[in-house]
């Protein structure tokens, strides 16, 4: 239901949906019915009272719906016209289709039965929507990795992972004890104690290339060290969306020095390098001169080759 639908209309929708539900749940307790529709029992009684006055033209007892709810249990008779559930709206269909995509990504490959069911549901829902809309959610992590790590979080058991560190350009093997999973800026992260680093680390789930459960020492006694942030200053030479997004600069002024900070020197070096002519790193001086040297060496190779 769209959010801008008014309260009386929401109630109308609820009443229309109550009839088919009661048809398949005859004798349901009033309080359970209220809970299912997320309203108070008093509101539900009022809803049923209203419904009781409705029916086919003529509105004699023969045409009115026959509702019984005084006993605290609800039954309905004589409501064939509204007996079937209402069809889903376009937005409801979109919500289910996108959700199903994500469900499909989490189903282990050997559950062909489930994957077939998802596919069949997708086709039937798309038919109801009536337009060939394309909808897709690509899950960030593979189903197998996600399954293994989320099980390890629940069971408090260790993991052996391969992790792609983008800044170091390395795939490292680590043994970790997961702490929890969380979302940040649209990415999922696993917080874990890393025995390889002997400290707490955060791993982006989509960069965990494989995960297997493994025994790890029970001792997580290491003190978490707080690495020092590196402050750096850049000047942006021309307007670039890529640079704004890479350095998370919301308000970009040209030819003005901007101060930023990062935990990773490699990230600073690579980000400035990738920005090419667009960004000048002013400080720290040692990173600046290192960059100039590296760019010159690369250039020599292109000139000499």
């Amino acid at each position: 239901m769209s959010k801008n639908v008014s309260a009386p209309l929401l109630r109308t929708a609820r009443l229309l949906d109550l009839v088919p539900f009661l048809n398949t749940h005859q004798g349901i307790a009033l309080k359970d019915l209220a809970a299912h529709f997320d309203v108070t029992p008093t509101q539900m009684s009022a809803d049923l009272m209203t419904l009781w006055m409705c029916g086919l033209p003529g509105y004699t007892p023969l045409e009115l719906m026959d509702l019984e709810f005084e006993s605290g249990f609800v039954t309905i008779r004589n409501a064939p016209t509204l007996a079937k559930p209402r069809t889903i709206t376009f937005q409801e269909g979109v919500a289910l289709l996108l959700g199903l995509d994500l469900v499909a990504a989490s189903i282990p490959e050997n559950r062909i039965d489930l994957l077939t069911s998802v596919q069949s549901l997708r086709e039937r829902l798309t038919r109801i929507l009536g337009v060939p809309v394309r909808l897709s959610v690509v899950a960030a992590a593979s189903g197998a990795v996600w399954t293994t790590i989320s099980q390890a979080v629940t069971a408090h058991s260790g993991l052996e992972i391969h992790y792609h560190s983008l800044y170091k350009d390395q795939i490292s093997q680590r043994s970790v004890m997961p702490v929890d999973l969380y979302d940040s800026n649209g990415h999922q992260y696993m917080r874990a104690f890393c025995f390889t680093a002997n400290d707490y680390r955060e791993f982006r789930v989509d960069r965990i290339t494989s995960a297997t459960s493994a025994a790890v020492p029970a001792d997580l006694s290491a003190e978490s060290t707080n690495p020092e942030k590196i402050r750096f200053r850049i000047t942006v030479n021309n307007r670039s969306r890529d640079v704004a997004e890479r350095f998370a600069i919301s308000d970009m002024a040209l030819e003005t020095e901007i101060e930023l900070s990062s935990y990773s020197r490699q990230w600073i070096e690579r980000s400035v390098m990738a920005s090419g002519a667009t960004v000048t790193l002013n400080s720290p001086v040692e990173i600046r001169s290192e960059l100039a040297k590296r760019a010159q060496l690369m250039l020599n190779r292109y000139k000499g080759a």
């Binding site: 959010k3 069809t87 409801e92 979109v94 996108l98 000048t280």
Partner: protein, 315 residues
């Protein structure tokens, strides 16, 4: 409150009457037989117009047709049960459970309400969900934008979305697009649609939209492009390829783009599809001296130019 209840009663009675009829009902028949239409002719008329709008906003389609072409032209109304009723065929308990999981993925996110109202309707089918075992399953559609509702509404009606979009050179550009696809990849939402200015399908990242998206009703017929595929990172849609050397054990991010790999000993030679020269240049520079580009010439020249600027800027 009583008047509110009266209105709700009238809407339900109207729905029942229009659903039950086998032929179109004229307005005068409706006013005569459906309970709740009272007052002057003008009042009834106004009530009925509003009621029709209200039912439509609940997603109920009212057919308008001729009551009896032989005798008069008076318009008649009915609701077809095929369009009113949910037709998902037979639902199994497992399918019911999969649909519930799909709805749960929206918890706390943009379509949470829509997903739950869909599940409420589905629960009326009376098929209990059969709990299925997907180990550790807890998918979430996080980072969802409030624009998703607007966009999906426009997809349904083939209406225009009008918004300001941040160009690669950080200029805010007005776009008018009939959306045909909605997708989420690597934590970002994308909308694809036919861009009015170029009459071709373009894809936009939602976090690059500046300010609010407005919807403009499209009154013309719209044909959904049939040749559009969502996965445009599919290498088959790239026209050109680059030949790049990558040091063994390095360049993992650029290797992920490769369509083929040749072993050169200390280095590997990979073939990478080119979507834009700028994007690939940034990828190559990111990897420093672990990556060396051979061809095409324009890509190589662009890399060299950027390196020259880097040397000059940092001297």
């Amino acid at each position: 409150m009583p008047t509110v209840s009266r209105k709700i009663e009238r809407l339900i009675n109207l729905t029942i009457a229009l659903l039950a009829t086998k032929r179109y009902l004229t307005k005068s028949e409706i006013f005569r037989t459906v309970e709740g239409y009272e007052g002057s002719a003008e009042t009834k008329e106004r009530m009925f117009e509003r009621d029709k709008e209200d039912l439509r906003s609940l997603g109920i389609t009212i057919d308008v047709g001729s009551f009896d072409p032989l005798f008069n032209d008076e318009a008649g109304y009915r609701i077809r049960s095929e369009s009113y009723q949910l037709d998902l065929g037979d639902i199994t308990p497992t399918e019911m459970s999969l649909l519930s999981l799909a709805a749960d993925a929206w918890q706390g996110a943009a379509f949470a309400e829509q997903a739950q109202s869909a599940i409420l309707k589905l629960s009326s089918i009376g098929v209990p969900a059969d709990p299925i075992d997907i180990p550790g399953f807890s998918p979430k559609l996080s980072n969802s934008s409030k624009d998703l509702e607007t966009i999906s509404g426009a997809i349904g009606g083939s209406d225009y979305l009008i918004f300001d979009y941040l160009s690669p050179s950080l200029l805010s550009e007005r776009r008018e697009v009939i959306p045909i696809a909605l997708s989420n990849k690597s934590g970002f939402w994308y909308v694809s649609g036919v861009d009015k200015a170029v009459q071709e399908v373009r894809t936009f990242r939602l976090d690059r939209v500046q300010g609010a998206i407005t919807v403009l009703k499209n009154k013309e017929d719209f044909e959904f492009p049939t040749d559009f595929e969502l996965d445009q990172t599919d290498a088959s849609s790239a026209i050109r390829f680059a030949i790049i050397d990558v040091r063994k054990g390095k360049g993992h991010a650029i290797r992920a783009l490769a369509t083929s790999v040749t072993d050169l000993g200390e280095w590997d030679q990979i073939k990478v599809p080119i979507y834009t020269i700028e994007y690939l240049t940034a990828q190559i520079l990111w990897h420093g001296d672990d990556v060396f580009v051979h061809e095409p010439v324009d890509l190589r020249e662009n890399v060299v130019q950027q390196l020259e600027a880097l040397v000059v800027n940092h001297e």
